[in-house]
Amino acid sequence: MTARLLLIIALAGLFLLSLLTPWDAVAALFAQDRALGLAVLVELRLPRSLLALTYGAMLGAAGAAIQALFANPLASPDLTGTTSGAALGAVVTAYLFGFTAPIALSLGSVAGALGALLLLIGLAGPKAETATLLLSGLAISALAGALTTLALALAPSPFAFYDAYDWLMGSLVDRSLAQAAFAGLPAIVTIALLWRLRQALDSLTLGEEVAQSLGHDIARLRLWVVCLTALGVGACVAICGAIGFIGLVAPIFARRLTGGHPGRAIAPAALIGALLLLAADLAVRLAPLGRTLPIGVLTALLGAPFFLWLVAHMRWRLAR
């Protein structure tokens, strides 16, 4: 319990830090014109921090739920193709069909995520081995990536690639409060609903037969997890693009707080996911690169080596 309390305090601190960093510019504005300073804080900085908070939490919770469902610590929204499916859905909606309203983007994105997850279960089966799961996820990601590029190439707008680049790499910059609500509200509802499935997901530790003997309907559980993660992750991808590896890493740390129980790790995974994305956003902001790095690039740069370490660690454990 104390670990969770520390997590919440760290999260609150980091959120405040994210609002106020860099401080000089805000301080200067406040000195000039209080109203202007407040407007910058509320309309520019607040959406960014809120998006980091909710998108990070969504990725953590979705990762924990997907890992629990597949009984596999290497499953996550990005490695199962969910995020790339969502990105494809949004690109097709915006650039081929020409619907750019936030609701249209969200719906397209959710449809893409759902399609990718259902394709994964169709390809790899609900009880997929690690290798099958990762290969199927890789194939779906590659396919969705190629189709996204194709959709951009076929788009009527000649600037489609340039336009979409920052978004595709994952970015929290220059979003409005309304956009933050479009990603954040579905994320919060989804996380709460996923959290309610924790007991059923925990019982899967003993295998599907025991879970069923306890009265859990596994087919319905699977459908719920797939639809909820597609909804929550899809809504976030529509606004901020695909951000990788948070959904893989957060649940792994979260399970250390729950003694390995996968279902009750959903809440701490959401907290850790939010913490990681807020920290990554701060790092991107403070990096002395001249231009802001897309946040998805940073999470991939840090997450990919972690993933490789995880694979090596699992191999070493199996070989023992």
């Binding site: 003993l206 069923q212 003997s213 009265g215």
Partner: protein, 238 residues
């Protein structure tokens, strides 16, 4: 009234329509060749994908949530697979049951309690999973090959313990197993299955001497044990 009343149980292709009653305070062993439907019968009673009606102490388990259901019945699958590396104590706690520490003493688990299940031997993990199934003191125990992977001493200890528990708590246990001698020693009642049907049901000593076991398994008595029954000589056929 019987503790378990099951009517019209069926699983397409695996279990033909079956009725079964089990009395409180009895240990029933379920034997039969591989693929004869032992696991399917246990599944059907545990409410896994079968049609039919199951009442335990007059209650339909389908009307209960997981917590209450755990006190009514528990199921131990044949697989000793655990998906996540929990500590043994946390795994046993998944069985519910509350503060009962007796099962730790009875199954000698104190030394294993804080170890992770993926670092236990298969036999040790079996004992932990059996404890998970027993800790909530359910009315009906459905155990699929609980003695598989256990050494000879633990096979006897476990069966002793099961029989004592069932008698003192008035529970009913249905135990699928392959060891005929162990079944004869411990069962109050023996059920023999073949091709998705119950083909014999009765007192163990009588069934052991009868013609059902040789017919179902294709074996015959040889001294105190069993041997493969030679195929019938085609020349002796009329």
């Amino acid at each position: 009234m019987s503790l378990l009343v099951a009517e019209h149980l069926a699983l397409p292709g695996r279990l033909h329509e079956t009725d079964l009653r089990l009395e409180g305070g009895t240990l029933t062993c379920l034997i039969g060749p591989n693929g004869s439907g032992k696991t399917s019968l246990l599944h059907a009673l545990a409410g896994i994908g079968a049609s039919g009606r199951v009442m335990i102490d007059g209650v339909d388990p389908h009307t209960l949530g997981p917590g209450q259901r755990q006190r009514l019945l528990s199921f131990l699958p044949a697989s000793r697979d655990v998906k996540w590396p929990l500590a043994a104590r946390d795994l046993i706690a998944l069985g519910g049951g509350g503060p009962s520490e007796e099962v730790y003493d009875d199954l000698e688990l104190a030394a294993l309690a804080d170890r992770r299940v993926d670092r236990l031997s298969t036999g040790e993990r079996s004992r932990v999973l059996i404890a998970r199934a027993l800790v909530s003191r359910p009315r009906l125990l459905l155990l699929d090959e609980p003695v598989a992977n256990l050494d000879p001493l633990w096979q006897l200890k476990l069966m002793d313990y099961l029989r004592a528990q069932v008698r003192s708590q008035g529970q009913a246990a249905l135990v699928a197993m392959h060891d005929l001698e162990l079944a004869r020693l411990y069962a109050d009642r023996l059920i023999i299955m073949q091709a998705g049907r119950i083909v014999a049901d009765g007192e163990p000593d009588a069934l052991m001497k009868g013609a059902d076991i040789p017919a179902v398994f294709g074996i015959e008595r040889a001294g105190s044990g069993w041997r493969i029954r030679p195929p019938a000589d085609p020349r002796s056929l009329p």
